[in-house]
Symmetry: C2
Subunit: 197 residues, 2 copies
């Protein structure tokens, strides 16, 4: 990552730096001083762009949230059998996680100490609920195994998908690898690891 | 949780308190002062039991690591077809996670800043590798889907299993719930969510 120059600073590059520092130090552990040092600009220059670190947090998690919710409005998520829709949403959620990795990492780590964090957690719950509703509809169709509690299935699905932020690191040959990871998650979640005779 | 009394303090109760504080504040963010306050005993009393906070960390993560490695020596993990052994290890790993929740939570969160943390991460990798080897053997038997990279499968399996520490909270009717969670994870991982005609 190159360091942005003073004279080319934009709210967008400031956001990139802020998300990196938030992920490294934790949001609570980050001061305006840390952001100023990491960005190489004065605190007053930062205040020229944003009202403070909570605004940077809001912008950053909004980017992740907007990316995730946009998936739910795509044709693949709104048309067809629920089982196909939930599989589509899973695939696209993984793609958004990988494309917006630092932003989603931050979203998954917020802890609810500020208004913005609580709002972000509420939106995450809404997203999980939408996926849970799709799973419920798939179960009602008989397309989902009937011996599994839907709330539990949702948690395990997101547990697996969200673990990406712990171990996925973009490689140079990114596209092939991203496709491999995406397919592996979808296959594991819907068909399992075992071969079926 | 009741507060242990001064006169009944043992290394075991001190460990319980330390693990709780480490999980709340992070290991880096915990001082001997924090431990002393949380335990309700003086720092010198703590030093009577242990050499310092790193020894408490070592004891705590050892408990989690020993519990996990013990699974690999159980008959279910050493006899039979590899696919059955890896399924057994998955089930027992989930049980150990739930039984030793605060200890495993701490183990999964260590970050490698101290010698003890690096040792714990190395042991975790060893455990993952042992499970990965079982998955490889199951694939060689033709019992595992052939289109999945084993390293990736191992990560996704542990991603799902380890997500427990984020959302599982023991309930009063613990045993039935624990069994339900365990079966859900094993079913999802090996057979997937979808019904197979």
């Amino acid at each position: 990552m190159t360091t942005a120059k003073r004279d080319t600073y934009t709210p967008e590059t400031l956001l990139t730096v802020a998300v990196r520092v938030f992920n490294e130090r934790g949001y609570d552990g980050t001061s305006m001083e840390h952001l100023s040092k990491a960005a190489g600009i004065s605190k007053s220059s930062i205040y020229h762009h944003v009202s403070g670190k909570e605004e940077l947090l809001r912008r950053a998690v909004s980017r992740a949230i907007d990316g995730l919710f946009a998936v739910l409005d795509e044709p693949g998520a709104t048309r067809g059998r629920p089982i196909e829709r939930v599989e589509y949403v899973t695939r696209r959620t993984v793609e958004v996680l990988m494309a917006e990795l630092p932003y989603v990492t931050l979203l998954l780590r917020v802890r609810g100490n500020t208004k913005t964090e609580r709002w972000a957690m509420e939106r995450r719950r809404e997203f999980d609920q939408r996926v849970s509703d799709l799973l419920k509809a798939a179960a009602a169709d008989g397309d989902l195994r009937s011996d599994m509690d839907i709330r539990l299935a949702t948690r395990l699905l997101f547990g697996m998908v969200n673990s990406l932020v712990e171990w996925y690191r973009p490689q140079r040959d990114g596209e092939a690898e991203r496709a491999q990871v995406t397919e592996a998650i979808v296959h594991l979640a819907f068909d399992g690891l075992r071969t079926h005779p």
